[in-house]
Amino acid sequence: MSTATTTTATGTGTGTSGVRSWKNPIILSVVALFCLVVFALGAPGNSVTFRLSEADDAIVLPSLVVSAPIIGWVCTLVMLALAVLAVVRTRAGVRTPTWVPAVFAVLFFIAFLTWVVGSARTPNVALYGLLAGSVTLAVPLIFGSLSGVLCERSGVVNIAIEGQLLFGAFAAAVAASLSGSAFVGLVAAAAAGVLVSLVLAVFSIRYVVNQVIVGVVLNVLVSGLTGFLFSAVLSEDSQRWNSPPRLPVIRIPFLADIPIIGPILFEQTIVGYLMYVAVAVVYVALYHSRWGLRTRAVGEHPKAADTLGVNVNRRRFVNVLLAGVVAGVGGSFFTLVAVSGFGKDMTAGQGYIALAALIFGRWNPIGAFFAALLFGFATNLSNVLSLLGTPVPDQFLRMLPYVVTVFAVAGLVGRSRAPGASGIPYIKG
């Protein structure tokens, strides 16, 4: 009987040659041609210096000096070859292997970096600083997008990341100032994130208000509330309310001396270390624990989870609160690590970039981590380049996260598939 069934069963899967997608080859070709014009033909004639370490570091590495035209041409030619490969494969009706776009992206990145630094007035950049700065800038983004992962994986859209970060930053500043302890600030930040989450959860889960509406309105509410308190209380006596101590940088001996990655991994504040821990924990928990299995089920097909005895709305509620903890801690970065003190609307849209990172990272903690790093890098690069004097207006670099996200959701770069039930309230019945 079983053999008979299998033959009937597999039937629906036959005949998959059909509708070819020319999307990838076309995009690769267009980008490769763009590189040909800009990075290869338009390459600056000089060489580019990438400094790999400070002169007074424990381990000093020699600087990397490369010729801009050579890098430009080599990368472009390989990219053109990859584009041709994609065209040929598609014409033959075969799928382009996934490593092609990946390698393409890396080459593009190298060619771009060489070109943009090479075209600057001072073609000399500290690569270690560029990377370390990117990670620093990415810390709140990573916390924010992890908050998004926790919510959206269980089926609640979290537009309120911005509000969570901002309220976390505010609470951290106030609590740390009042108590004189940065760690109290850290805890307060987590609590503040939970508070924002609580409103999100109550309104979107209990009262079934559209999740996007609640998120958008919450951001306005937090911005108004912190802005109001900032001018009514904090600026009245900033010595008392708004002069938090900073979190100390904890340097792990020897490991922190490793060139380039040392400072990134082993010379961070507790928030920085927590960030790495959070990414790992969320990843493992999401894909390898009972909690994660249930969370994903609730986000994909809540009714199925319900019929198996999983309490959908309770799980969503708890996850949204957990997300508040994560984003709140991320918010503390602004006032306990980056600068010492709260400023009005100081998160400046970072929550939305975190949302972008979440989507570009395909709702996966690791993906979101790298997406946030990329966005942090873009921001940092624009800061560095504006000092070096660059042909690319820094507004375009600042736009990068948003443009990349538009491409990602439009399916031009990879395919983003949101959790099946994300944004849809679950009503039992």
Binding site: F203, N210, V220, G224, G227, F230, K303, Q395, V406, I427
Partner: protein, 458 residues
């Protein structure tokens, strides 16, 4: 379990064996009406598989239903509740209250009195700054606040209409901010670059603003239609792209004021700005009349035109619209383009009405406020108009309040967002005020009831 299967058992239509058809029909009709009611309450009581089926359309449908079926009482109470909460916040943070509270247990009335005067003074200032200035010495100075309210309301109404219209087509347009900016950029460029006769110049400025907004929003519609990308994400990203784009423009020679290195454009020509509506004593300009016309137009478009029928059908049930020969892609693009054009009008109201120059901050936060305006107005054109005026009053009054009592204008944001939150959750407001719950009570009675008709808004 299929929706129709068990929750809408239709007695009446079932297996009666009628003596004659006519008779049966009459008796059944009565029966049927009862059943319909039953089915309706059942829907409300047990979030009906039909209405809550897990598909994107229904999510936006519930949203629409929610926006359009909340009742006036809940709206009023939401405003009151938000004002009370805002007042508490003002009172708690007031320094005089703080001083009095240090001896609260000996003389509590001092604390309460200080709290009352802090909040009431702020609100009185807010009222005087937005409606009538009772201490005004001339008619002009008495009604000046009201005209200020209308001036501030103008961009809110225009952009709010854009958000509302997109809502009705099932699109969540968070992008009014970017659309205002791009619209303002187009309008401003025409305004200070071309030098044309009066009338024609302003007309072109208005058109350019609308085209700018329409292109920016239309792009989102196009991306959504072609690739299925979610418009919430797209519009958020487009807002930030727009901000950076405008900053870039303002660093180029085409836009930057000659001789300046600041990101600010030259002044618009005198022929390119809205004439003042009530003479030079007031800042109210013809942009407000444009906003009124826009409201009438959107009402007609949504409720009386074939385009509106298409947009509403796409918004309420895209698959049914598709099957009925209505192009969903066209609907998305058109809805966004019109929404963008309306937001563009808001941009024109800023550059041609009040600011007269282009800066990256020309849109202020009108784009985000527009969302709350549309939500408060339940996405109906006249509701949006009224909500625009209310929030305009908050903003205009907030400025006066900040100046006279030192209460930060940010309190307005708090009150505004609280209003929208409460209005979106009528059961919460009813519970807080111990109001009776309409319809049946049961499991999950918090869900909205089916609206009588989407066409009945406005």
């Amino acid at each position: 379990m299929s929706p129709q299967e068990d929750n809408r058992v239709p007695p009446g239509t079932g297996a009666t064996t009628p003596p004659t058809r006519r008779q049966a029909r009459q008796s059944d009709r009565k029966d049927e009406v009862r059943t319909e009611k039953a089915a309706e309450t059942a829907d409300g009581a047990l979030p009906p598989p039909a209405a809550a089926a897990p598909e994107p359309e229904t999510a936006s449908q519930t949203l629409l239903q929610r926006i359009m079926t909340g009742n006036a009482l809940v709206a009023f109470l939401s405003v009151v509740l938000s004002l009370i909460l805002g007042g508490l916040l003002i009172a708690v943070t007031d320094p005089a209250v703080g001083r009095a509270s240090s001896y609260f247990f000996t003389r509590p009335q001092d604390t309460l009195g200080a709290a009352w005067s802090a909040a009431s003074n702020a609100y009185i200032a807010l009222f005087q700054g937005s409606v009538i200035n009772v201490r005004g010495t001339s008619f002009t100075s008495v009604i000046y606040p009201l005209t200020q309210t209308l001036t501030v309301a103008t961009p809110l109404i225009c952009a709010g209409l854009g958000v509302a219209l997109a809502f009705r087509a099932g699109l969540f347009n968070i992008g009014a901010q970017g659309q205002i900016l791009i619209g303002a950029t187009f309008a401003a460029w025409v305004g200070f670059t071309l030098h044309l006769p009066a009338g024609l110049h302003l007309l072109l400025v208005v058109l350019a603003g609308m085209v700018g907004g329409a292109i920016w929003a239309g792009l989102v519609g196009l991306l959504k239609a072609r690739t299925g990308a979610h418009e919430v994400i797209l519009t958020i990203m487009f807002n930030y792209i727009a901000t950076n784009l405008v900053l870039y423009f303002l660093s180029t020679s085409a836009f930057q004021r000659p001789g300046s290195t600041n990101p600010i454009s030259p002044q618009l020509d005198g022929t390119a700005v809205y004439p003042l509506l009530l003479g030079p004593a007031f800042r109210l300009h013809w942009g407000f009349v444009v906003a009124v016309v826009a409201t009438v137009f959107v009402w007609w478009l949504l409720n009386r035109s074939t385009i509106g029928f298409e947009l509403r059908a796409v918004g309420a049930n895209a698959s049914a619209a598709r099957t009925a020969g209505i192009s969903v892609s066209k609907g998305y693009i058109l809805a966004m383009a019109i929404a963008g054009a309306l937001a563009g009008l808001a941009g024109v109201a800023q550059v041609s009405g009040t600011e007269k120059v282009l800066t990256s901050g020309v849109a202020a936060s009108f784009g985000f406020d527009a969302i709350t305006v549309a939500l408060l107005g339940r996405s109906s054109p006249w509701g949006t108009f009224a909500a625009g005026i209310l929030f305009g009053a908050f903003r205009a009054g907030g400025v006066t309040m900040q100046a006279s009592t030192g209460t930060s204008i940010d309190i307005v944001l708090v009150v505004q967002s609280l209003i929208v939150l409460f209005i979106a959750a009528p059961p919460l407001v009813r519970a807080l005020f111990r109001l009776p719950v309409p319809g049946a009570v049961g499991k999950g009675s918090t869900t909205p009831r089916t609206p009588a008709s989407t066409g009945a808004a406005a």
